[in-house]
Structure formats: structure tokens, C-alpha cells
Symmetry: C2
Subunit: 215 residues, 2 copies
């Protein structure tokens, strides 16, 4: 993996990492990326679902999407993934913070043309979101494949940043009588809601709880 | 508010909105933005906390941050805010989706120089995250203000997109025997964890539950 100025950890490098294991763990715990690119000198940031296979991220969307049109043109892109883990409440306004895990990846995207590779990439995205779902559902038809752009984003450079733990205060502030600590935040799955036309007797699949990765 | 090509809703316009009320509701329900800008033709997307006042977003970070340096130079920026509301599981792979609320805002940022305005903007961010916290904590010192860059991002153009409800299937797929529906997702606050040096008898403040906006 390259290491140039764009992925250099300038701010609070003790929170940063270039370790592939750390980076993969963050990417595997999330499923929504914010994808940045420029068109006519205007930056765009578009939320997109992704799946990971090694150092490749698969992104997909409609062939009508402006974001995908620009990205498939080979424009340099930045894929940013953030998990929110908690609010850090300090005794001073200044030392308030957020517990989080984030990855910022640089690279370029390419559209996948071949139908079999496209289907495989869609499977990677699907299994990344809900492991076990793909084999249950009707696979994509030829028309559906044609209506979908699937991008292969090869990570060229990447860094992770993680903040954990309690607030760090100025020594004098520890004498304060205001409460300080962390409010953990978790993206929590709620009870599944069946689609209104679902036939009676069809159970919620067992892969749902263990397939969900949002921790 | 301007309306040009960059904020045009091309894809699924029925999910989109330019209504300020809808846009403000999404911005007020979230607190983390992904901020996009370009430096030397390389797009960057950086997660940042924000607060809202009218059509102004306040962002802040260290004066050492590369992102803030570029942004204070007046570079065009894109601020993207996304709330994840649920996984939409269809009977076909193709119709899987996400329930979400998102805002994509275009504009430019300016650094706030004057100390009183800077403090006020920091208060807006703090109250946006945890209403009621600001009056409890030690305010920023002169040195802390000097070490903080606060940006005022004026929204020039903006759109929202919202997807709600069950999966929409191809008619033939409703006969499928696979479970379909929505798994709602909520960013849920957990029990607060006191900072290790907190003196005995200091209670968790009552503004914590009602101040949290993550719905």
C-alpha cells in the first residue's frame, strides 16, 4: 500500500493507524460509505452502501446516478467510513469529543462490465450487509444487472483513526463538580417489520441477528 | 436558496426534497457530517461534528487540521449528512435497499476570527449535540479558542433524500416464500459511563436523555 501526503496522519497520530487489520475491521463493521469526488471543480459527497473483498471495495447504484457516471470515468475518489461509538463529555467545553472509528481511503473506481463478475460483486455487497441473505432471494435478472452500475474501488492509500475511552481533562478541571464521562452509542437493530403482503407463516430468518454487523 | 444542476434531484426525485423544513429536520436529527473538498485535484472526505443555525452550519476542529486549512481558504465544499433508519430486505436481490434520511449541501466555509462569535458558534455546536451541556461546563479559555478553528459554512444549495417504508417488489416476486420486510436501525444511547476520576455523588445530568437527538 502506498503512503504519501494524502494519507499521512498529521493530527493526533496516536489515534491513527495504517495497519491493514485495523482498517479491515473498521470497514467490516460498517456498511455505509461517504464517497467523495469532483465534477467541474465542485466536490460531491454521496452516501453509498459497500462491500469489501481484500483491498477492494464494491459500490453500486443505478446507471442513472450522476455520482456513478463521474466515478466510472476514472476520477480520483475518496471513500470515508465512520462508526460513531459515543459522546465524550468532559468537564470543559474544549475537551468534549467523540468516540469513533473511521477509515479514509483514496483510490479510483472502475465499472465492472462482465455480468458474472458484476453478480459476484453484488453478492459481496449483499453478504457484507446481511450474511446469509443472498442464497435466499431471487438473484438479479439480465435486465436488473443492466440497470445496475457496480464499481470496483481499489484502495491505493488508506488510514484509520480511532478514539476510545474517557475524556482527557486539564488537570485543574478534575476538581470540577460537573459530571463527566462517555455516553456509548450503538446502531441497534430493532424488531423486524414484515412486508405487508408477506404470507402468513413465513418466519424472520435466523441469519438476521447474527448477520448484522453494526457494532 | 439557489437551485442549479449540482443540487438537482435526478435519481428517484420522488424521494427528494428541497423543502427547508425537511432539510432542517434531517440536519437537526444528526450531528456528524462528512465534509468533502479538493486539494491538488485529490478529493478528501473528512467526518466532522457540526451545529446548525438557520442555513449556517458550524464546523470545528484543530488549527493543525489539513481539512480546516483547505476549507478556510474558501475552497468549494460539500457537506453530506446521513441518518441510517433501516435495512430493507426484498424478495429479490435487486430490490434490497436502505431506509435513510440524507442531506447534501453545497457552499463555502469561512473561518470565524472574532473570539465572541467563535465562542457563540462553539456553543451552537455543543447545544446541537447535547442541549443543556454548555452552561454546566467550563467555557473555552483564550488559549483554547486560539487552538480551535471554527468554520461557518453557509449553505448555498441543498437537497434532501428520504426513503421510508417496506420493500417495493416486482409483482411476480410477491409469491416468493422468502421473508421480506424492514429491520429498523436506531443509534441508541447506552448507559453513561462515568469518567474514572469522577468524585462520588455526582449524578448523571438530567439533560442527557432528552438532549440526545439520535432518532
Amino acid at each position: 500500500m502506498n503512503r504519501t501526503e494524502r494519507s499521512e496522519l498529521r493530527r493526533l497520530p496516536e489515534r491513527g493507524s495504517h495497519d491493514p487489520k485495523v482498517i479491515h475491521e473498521v470497514l467490516d463493521a460498517a456498511f455505509l460509505a461517504h464517497v467523495g469526488f469532483s465534477a467541474s471543480a465542485q466536490p460531491f459527497v454521496i452516501p453509498m452502501i459497500y462491500g469489501r473483498d481484500g483491498d477492494t471495495l464494491y459500490l453500486h447504484g443505478s446507471t442513472a446516478s450522476r455520482a456513478l457516471l463521474v466515478l466510472t470515468g476514472g476520477a480520483p475518489a475518496c471513500v470515508s467510513v465512520t462508526l460513531i461509538d459515543g459522546l465524550v463529555l468532559a468537564r470543559s467545553a474544549f475537551h468534549h469529543s467523540l468516540n469513533y472509528r473511521s477509515v479514509v481511503a483514496f483510490g479510483t473506481a472502475r465499472a465492472i462490465a462482465e455480468a458474472a463478475r458484476k453478480t459476484r460483486a453484488m453478492r459481496v455487497i449483499s453478504e457484507h450487509l446481511i450474511a446469509g441473505r443472498w442464497r435466499d432471494v431471487r438473484g438479479p435478472s439480465r435486465a436488473e444487472l443492466a440497470a445496475t452500475t457496480v464499481l470496483e474501488f481499489t484502495i491505493e492509500e488508506v488510514s484509520a483513526k480511532i478514539r476510545r475511552g474517557p475524556p482527557i481533562e486539564d488537570e485543574a478541571d478534575y476538581a470540577s463538580t460537573v459530571w463527566a464521562g462517555v455516553v456509548p452509542l450503538v446502531l441497534q437493530p430493532q424488531t423486524p417489520v414484515s412486508e405487508p403482503r408477506l404470507a402468513a407463516g413465513i418466519e424472520v430468518p435466523t441469519y438476521l441477528p447474527r448477520g448484522l454487523r453494526f457494532k
